[in-house]
């Protein structure tokens, strides 16, 4: 550390530039990770809030909630008793000024998927809904009467809940009867037992079973992965992040290798004096750690600062735990990049380096 620190102190500009490059790489990694988390949230936020273990859909729906159609009578065929019925439809809502795609969740307010109300009150009548507070940014407010694209029924926003989106659409929560009225219109009474799925919360997936062979128990994570476009989008962003890890490793390796080659004669003299390969290698590793750590910390801070100034339309959400993991990975790959320099040091012949 002594050699590493003193060299950095003496050659501030050179090492600031290296830290700058590492900072930009980590900034990009953190930002992409924020984008990946943000885009994932757009799809799964509402589902994550259920805290559920599985969802039960019809086998023929191929894990698609809107395509699944079952009745509340199927509840009897399910082993777990902590269940919540769910009716879901997509529509376009307008309050006369703003227009937005929405996902309507018809639920039983007594069951566990009922969200917490952060503003206003809980729905108590048919056609009253609680809305995701992300709709406020789109110009919706408490008391708004919403017209939906697929029906003449009108909904009233009586409360807001924390950001809740499903498949990129803000969620409106209402009574299951509200869902029936909108989906079936005048035939609502005949279809009052119709739902799309049953959400189950259990200690363990294996404890959930159903005697109805037409139903499929789907683990929540699998259900999310099967949302349209979700996996493709996540894979694309994750690949970009993994490539950045590899690129940052190569960048650090090149920088350190060039620096090491410039110092071959100096290292040779030190080896002639009896300073061990181990000490010199540790010094290079320590230097890499300091550079990578500083770059990652500055990149981390810069990401959070710029995140605070981003318009809400940008789907960025920073998960600190994931960012810390990525930061650690960046530092680790940087240190792996230093291995080439260490090998170079080990190979230096002190005799040649001093011109013997």
């Amino acid at each position: 550390m002594f050699l590493a620190w003193n060299e950095m102190k003496k050659n501030k500009l050179r090492f600031t530039l290296i830290v700058g490059v590492l900072m930009l790489v980590s900034y990009l990694v953190f930002f992409l990770s924020g984008l990946a988390t943000g885009l994932a949230s757009l799809n799964r936020e509402a589902v994550d809030k259920w805290g559920a273990t599985a969802i039960i859909l019809t086998e023929e729906s191929d894990k698609s909630l809107p395509q699944s159609s079952l009745t509340t009578e199927e509840l009897d065929a399910i082993s777990e008793n902590k269940t919540a019925i769910l009716g879901q439809l997509n529509s376009i809502a307008t309050n006369g000024e703003a227009k937005q795609n929405i996902s309507l969740f018809g639920i039983d307010p007594e069951e566990f998927i009922m969200p917490d109300v952060t503003e206003g009150e809980v729905f108590s009548e048919v056609n009253e809904v609680i809305a995701s507070d992300t709709l406020k940014e789109d110009g919706f407010k408490l008391g708004d009467e919403l017209e939906l694209s697929s029906t003449d029924e009108k909904l009233t926003i009586v409360g807001f809940t924390d950001s809740a989106r499903f498949n990129a659409a803000p969620v409106l929560y209402g009574e299951i009867d509200t869902f029936h009225k909108i989906k079936f219109g005048e035939a609502a009474t005949e279809n009052e037992t119709q739902i799309n799925g049953i959400v189950v919360r259990a200690g363990d997936l294996s404890s959930i079973s159903t005697s109805n062979e037409d139903l499929e128990i789907i683990e929540i994570e699998t259900f999310i992965e099967n949302l349209p476009g979700y996996t493709e989008q996540a894979l694309t962003l994750n690949f970009m992040i993994y490539f950045l890890f590899a690129i940052s490793s190569v960048i650090v390796a090149i920088f350190l290798y060039v620096l090491t080659v410039q110092k071959i004669s100096m290292f040779g003299v030190m080896k002639a004096q009896g300073i061990s390969n181990g000490y010199l290698s540790r010094s290079v590793i320590a230097q890499t750690f300091l550079l990578a750590f500083t770059g990652v910390v500055v990149g981390f801070a810069l990401t959070l600062i710029s995140g605070a100034f981003l318009p809400s339309a940008v789907p960025v959400s920073f998960d600190i735990f994931t960012m810390i993991i990525y930061g650690v990975v960046l530092i680790t790959v940087a240190i792996l990049g230093a291995v080439f320099s260490v090998l170079t040091i080990v190979k230096i012949d002190p005799l040649k380096a001093i011109g013997g």
Partner: protein
């Protein structure tokens, strides 16, 4: 007691008709507190002699004893430890680390070896070498003579038994060259170090106790008075 001995040492490079005998059968012995010069023209084998004596390379045959420990039988890691503990090098090219100031050049050695000079001893050494005011300066800020004196301080700081100097005055004018030799003599006698100076400059031998001449790989002891 001999601190450094070379017994029947040879060094050969290449094979067949390309074989070069850089060092023919060589016997050499140096006592504690001796300042010895090895003179000879370029390519005569002086540097090969010095690097074998310093454990930087192994002889083709023969033994190199540093305080009775045969370097020829040790691997590079162990020879490196012997160099660190027993041998100080003053090289033609400065052996200073460019990004460390004078004080930190010494601290670097504290990081890798214990039993170096105490603060008081180092202060006295700085005084002797006339570099007390250069403590915070970096090698690039020093003149050639100052750099060489700092290099001597660095070589002596770890209290080596043997000091090996390869053309220590090569980059200096006559006045500075004599100054450096005067310092080496003083430190050799004061610290009871064994100092071997390899040089082609015969004017420096007046400071030495013994003079060897190297010619075509053959080392022989000379009378100081016979050296031209």
């Amino acid at each position: 007691m001999a601190i450094l001995e070379l017994n029947n040492v040879t060094k050969t490079f290449g094979t067949g008709h390309k074989q070069v005998d850089a060092l023919k059968e060589t016997n050499f012995s140096a006592e504690q507190g001796e300042l010895i010069a090895v003179i000879g023209p370029s390519g005569s084998g002086k540097s090969t002699f010095l690097t074998i004596a310093g454990g930087l390379q192994t002889p083709s045959s023969g033994g190199v004893l540093v305080k009775n420990q045969d370097l020829a039988n040790l691997n590079e890691k162990k020879r490196s430890k012997v160099r660190l503990k027993e041998i100080g090098f003053i090289l033609q090219a400065s052996n200073l680390v460019p990004f460390l100031n004078v004080d930190n050049q010494m601290k670097l050695l504290d990081n890798v070896k214990k039993d170096n000079m105490t603060t008081e001893e180092l202060d006295a050494l700085y005084d002797n070498l006339g570099i007390k005011d250069l403590r915070k300066k970096y090698p690039a800020d020093l003149s050639g003579g100052e750099r060489q004196r700092v290099a001597i301080a660095k070589a002596l700081y770890s209290k080596p038994s043997i000091l090996l100097a390869d053309e220590p005055t090569a980059s200096l004018d006559s006045e500075k060259a004599y100054e450096v030799m005067e310092l080496l003599k003083k430190e050799t006698k004061q610290n009871k170090t064994t100092t071997i100076v390899v040089t082609h400059d015969t004017r420096l031998i007046e400071y030495c106790d013994k003079v060897y001449e190297m010619t075509d790989g053959v080392l022989r002891l000379m009378e100081k008075s016979s050296v031209k």
